[in-house]
């Protein structure tokens, strides 16, 4: 048995029972990384010295008889837009190629306290802008199920690392689907929380009113365990919710009889691959057999979600990324004749094309000429979308949709097809627009590649998602399939 292929809770139990040490677990994971990372390229930085030091300390504490939590000694990966003190945090951008944060993100601090061990920082689309991890300035991560295909994005490195057993779990961020979509394409669980549930302190900002940190996990139980450590109020994030969410493990092993599920028909429309659609509907049937009530519903405002997302998120990005000016930190151009040129040259050489596009779209949408027609109108439609969902959740506990319209595409294929690239966010952005939680869970394979089912609930309705997902998983076991590497 390979230790790296087990789940977090299995490894936790073995460590607790004294069958294995944290160092042995780490050996297994780094052994795996050595064996497959050349093919996958999920990581931008490996933190081996740091990790072994941490594992040794966990083992010592355990030997002393200290009672340790679920995450103690568990190797994890963290997306490279989440600040790690003393460890490079590049956002996969030339702009931050050599940037070493002087502080930890709130979540990383919490995970360290819990004893989780960072094995490395993972690849992403530059500044998390993209859905294939192809806009990374440094490398192209491959989908572990087919090395010629993308892992999705922007958290593609984190998703691929978990799918390839290069970490037991991985932290990512989700602005328009950046956790759920790669989870779907790599066949793992991806969870985006209610807006404000997990502190964004230390996450390099892309679009502050959409960004949320979340987790990739091998199964639903692991996901519930990890979320328990990530959730909680943080005074350093002014949008942090002062709310107790309780223990997510209590939502496991629950009966879903009588649960009300809505299937918004707009998400099953043209543009969704036939086989993908079939798989989601088969998944829904599993829940129906377990006693859930399923109804088709309509969300007419859903079709406006993508332009709303692009305009608002780009506007926020334009403002957030203004800080990268080549002065205090980050990339500075070698040649410039005055301060103006220092700004322009540093930004033009430091940012890739996709980032420039988003900044400019935002600058345009916020300009006095377009503020009312673009930015302000998008904010209004955002309210309509949020209200429509709130109304739906009066009647339904969860909504189920595909996570992504297709299986993973070939590397290079979609980056040229703008409409396809643009439409790819269609199933996931609504949750970010409305600030609600959503999970992607593996629900089958099409042409040998994983397909994900998206479960959404009302804000703070995480327990309903976990309840349904766990019931589904126990009756399907898709997560047990592993890519051959």
């Amino acid at each position: 048995m390979d230790l790296f292929s087990l789940t977090l809770h299995e490894i936790r139990d073995m460590m607790r029972n004294g069958e294995i040490s944290s160092k042995e677990v780490l050996d297994s994971v780094y052994g795996r990384i050595e064996a497959v990372e050349d093919k996958i390229e999920a990581y931008l930085t490996l933190t081996k010295d740091y990790a072994y030091e941490a594992a040794e300390s966990i083992d010592k504490r355990r030997l002393k008889g200290e009672k340790l939590g679920d995450l103690a000694g568990i190797p994890m990966a963290v997306k490279d837009n989440i600040s790690t003190k003393g460890i490079k945090t590049t956002c996969a951008s030339k702009m931050l190629e050599n940037y070493i944060p002087p502080f930890d993100a709130h979540v990383f601090e919490k995970l360290k306290e819990a004893g989780a061990i960072l094995v490395g920082k993972t690849n992403l689309d530059e500044f998390a802008m993209g859905c294939s991890t192809e806009t990374s300035a440094f490398k192209i991560t491959k989908n572990p199920w087919d090395l010629e295909r993308v892992p999705g994005g922007s958290s593609g490195g984190s998703a691929a690392a978990v799918a390839a057993d290069e970490a037991y779990f991985a932290i990512g961020s989700d602005t328009g689907g950046s956790m759920r979509q790669p989870a779907s394409l790599c066949g793992v669980i991806g969870f985006k929380p209610t807006y404000g549930a997990i502190s964004r302190y230390g996450l390099v900002a892309f679009a502050s009113s959409f960004d949320q940190i979340g987790t990739f996990a091998k199964d639903v139980e692991d996901c519930a365990i990890i979320l328990n450590y990530l959730y909680g109020y943080d005074e350093k994030d002014t949008t942090s919710l002062p709310i107790e969410f309780g223990d997510f493990k209590e939502a496991l092993n629950k009966d879903i009889k009588g649960m009300k599920i809505g299937l918004p028909k707009e998400y099953y429309d043209k543009g969704i691959d036939g086989e993908v659609k079939e798989m989601i509907l088969d998944g829904v049937k599993v829940l129906e057999r377990l006693g859930a009530h399923v109804e088709e519903i309509s969300l007419p405002y859903a079709k406006y979600a993508v332009p709303v997302y692009y305009i608002i998120s780009s506007s926020e990005a334009s403002s957030n990324l203004a800080r990268f000016d080549g002065v205090r930190y980050g990339y500075r151009a070698k040649e410039y004749k005055d301060l103006e040129e220092l700004y322009v040259n540093s930004r033009s050489q430091g940012f890739g094309s996709e980032v420039k596009f988003r900044i400019m779209l935002g600058t345009y949408s916020l300009s006095s000429k377009c503020y009312d027609t673009h930015y302000n109108r998008a904010l209004k439609v955002r309210r309509l979308i949020k209200q429509e969902l709130e109304e739906a959740f009066v009647k339904y506990d969860i909504l189920i949709t595909p996570t992504y319209p297709t299986i993973a595409s070939k590397i290079g294929e979609k980056s040229e097809d703008l409409v396809a690239m643009y439409m790819s966010d269609i199933c996931t952005v609504t949750a970010n627009i409305a600030g609600i939680p959503a999970m992607s869970i593996p629900c089958g394979f099409s042409k040998g590649l994983p397909v994900g089912m998206q479960i959404m609930s009302k804000a703070m309705g995480e327990a309903d998602i976990i309840k349904a997902a766990h019931a589904f998983e126990k009756n399907t076991n898709y997560y047990k399939n592993k890519p051959t590497l």
Binding site: T238, Y304, I311, K337, L339, S353, N376, R377, R383, Y422
Partner: protein, 94 residues
């Protein structure tokens, strides 16, 4: 459709200079999004309030208490060029 002149003006406002390749790519992407955004025309938004604060939290305050901060060396560690314990930039005043 966005015109070249306007695109270049936005680039300059955003302190960006575009290569010819970027210019072409970004124009295409701009037009795609602006085209989709025209869908908003079909909606009556007259009496809809813009949604700026997703969780209705406002004016989050804390006590104004002195706290530990970073020392100069730590903060300057990432500065691309420094001189006499400060960040170095080119001359601003002639």
């Amino acid at each position: 459709m966005i015109e070249k002149k306007e695109l270049l003006n936005i680039a300059s406002l955003a302190k960006l200079k575009l290569s010819e390749e970027d210019e072409e790519k970004i124009t295409k992407k701009f037009n795609l999004v602006l085209n989709y955004a025209r869908m908003f025309d079909e909606l009556d938004l007259e009496n809809v309030e813009p949604l700026v604060n997703i969780n209705n939290l406002s004016n989050v305050m804390r006590e104004d208490e002195p706290m530990e901060s970073y020392d100069r060396e730590t903060l300057l560690a990432n500065a691309p060029e420094k001189l006499y314990g400060c960040i170095k930039v080119s001359k601003i005043i002639e």
